[in-house]
Amino acid sequence: MRLFITFVGILMSASILSAQDEGYLTGSFETTDHSYVKDAANKFTPADDPFGSNNYLKLDYYKGNFSAGMQLEGYAPVLIGFPDDLSKFAMSNLYVNWRDEDFQITAGTFYDQFGSGLLFRSWEDRLLGLNNAIMGARFAYNYEDKVAFKAFWGTPRLGMGLSDTQVRGADLSVSLSNILGFDEVMLNVEGSVLNRYEKISLDAEEAGGKPTSTGFSGRLNFDWNGMFFKGEYVDLGKKLVNLTPKRGNAQLVEVGYNGRGLGVTLTGRRLEWMGQKISSRSLSTANLISYVPAMSTQYTYMLTTLHPYNPQVGDESTIAFNSGEMGGQLDAFYNFRRGTKLGGKRGMKVHANFSTYYTLAQEGTAKPGNLLFRDFSFDLEKQWTKEFKMVLLYSMQEYNPTYGNFKTTWLSNIMVADLLYKWTPTFSTRMELQYLTTQEDKKDWMAALLEVNFAPHWSIWGSDMYNHGSTKMHYYNVGVSYTKGRTRLAGGYGRYKDGFICSGGVCRQIPQYTGANFSITTSF
């Protein structure tokens, strides 16, 4: 608390001094509160304390090239489904930063990422209770947009404090196109190195493990008139998996074209022993120092998210003991312009995605093993009249319930209609109708949602997801929100199904629960 008061004092002094030269303070506050109730049908009994509350206060002060900020977090107690090492109150972030056009130096907490994040990423995702900010020092230098270099040293946050692990990293990006004076071509060559230190157990030491490990990545980025290519190779170095030495490595390729209303991206990725934790002793779902997301469509409709893909990164602590995975996806977006035969008066947008992933049949090879996940989806969006807009989506998902240990897969076909009608410029209704059909798991589902919007302030909704194929269980949810400027208040009540919540490519298991929820989000 003393540290916090001192920090606020410094900020206040700086703020008062800045009254003449345009310094300003900005910040945000967020609270999410749940009240759990016993629900025998949902097999849910709340703990002794039937409440949960996650709270965040963030403040940033800017004055010219200088900035400083902090974040306070409070869990009273943490919401069900979040990492259980989040508890009570702590100042999670505290930094001072100086930056001009070319140079930046930060002391305190910071976030950063090398390339796609396969080697290193520190970031915050409050939906997952993840915040692996690095506490240390970082500097970055950019020479005329030709050469960019950054380096850092620090300790990642884990739970409510700092971990025992230290990380040091450096990243260099060379723009060959800017050096050679190419106008239309973008060609960058990039490389990173990450060194980490963590005290290891005697068993690991005897098995040949070392407290330090070093990983590398090399990248090539190319773009010419909308055609692009991105390639990344990552070598995590040698690490012990169940006391056996393994070399973590990954290959990522993205190639495509964006232009003339068409966007096409083909992605291929192979992972082998790419699991990388902050601490080898923590079982927290937030115990991550790199970012290895599922490269597939991230759905938002209720029935399309029952079995989201969870990538097999290759780690001893994952649900199934796989060495990794390989696969890819193809995305295509097209805009039929207004006035064309298919576009009609108001245009039409279509999108198709195909993604497929396999286990590695054999370590050190690119030979596919068992199917892990496959999805084909197609969606169409059409504004029929000024008032009426329609989205239709079809998805065929094939999912391996044993995470690749056996060949068995579950196949489901999902259909969604999303219908929006604007009755007046500020009054609208939106309805979702969804159906999932499958021979496996809990058989068929149906779902519906109705949302009534009174712009600019009010929105009311209700939804029900019903498993009529097997359990006959309803998962209902009603809610209301009020928004004024940057402040949003929302409240609701519902029965929620267990499953994964996936956000930004990271998933966490949430238990089923029944209860009321309330949230406030504001910024200033």
Binding site: A19, E22, T26, M186, T265, M295, D418, P456, G505
Partner: protein
């Protein structure tokens, strides 16, 4: 404790100056790095909308702006900057997505793959839209979107142009 609370109140009172665009590095559609400070060099007001491919209200809002843009530009001079907060899982998809909706023709597209710009602007959830005057000062902002919210943006832009 009283000192602490007074400090907090004094801090807020002293911070009534308008928030501005901070200096943060993001990517453009080509993958080149761009400093957000360069956005305000052109001196025209702008709408800055934070969105992501998995945020349906964000997409509805940007589509509504896209559809209304020809009419709005007859009433005021301004630019639209769409900032994708998709991380590296969805970054390539976000670029193709924006192209497949025609946004690239009328909007300045930026990609904030580690959410540095989002954090610096204190955006907790998307959609979150700002209206900035020609000097980069925030004169209006709104979180969430339901159809009809976009009408407030035009009013804010018109006030900047006066």
């Amino acid at each position: 404790m009283r000192t602490f609370l007074l400090s907090i109140v004094a801090l807020f009172v002293s911070a009534l100056a308008y928030a501005q665009v901070p200096s943060v590095t993001v990517e453009n559609a080509k993958g080149e790095t761009v400093n957000t400070k360069t956005l305000i060099k052109e001196g025209t007001p702008m709408i800055v909308s934070f969105w992501s491919t998995s945020c349906k209200p964000c997409i509805r809002e940007l589509d509504a702006i896209y559809d209304a843009l020809p009419d709005w530009l007859e009433e005021a001079d301004f630019r639209v900057v769409a900032v994708s907060t998709d991380d590296s899982r969805l970054l390539a998809k976000a670029k193709s997505f924006a192209e497949g909706r025609g946004w690239g023709e009328d909007f300045t597209l930026l990609f904030d793959k580690n959410q540095d710009f989002m954090r610096a602007m204190n955006v907790s959830v998307v959609p979150h839209v700002f209206v900035l005057d020609g000097t980069g000062k925030v004169v209006y902002s709104h979180t969430s979107y339901v159809p009809g919210n976009e009408l407030e943006l035009l009013e804010a832009i018109k006030k900047c142009s006066k």
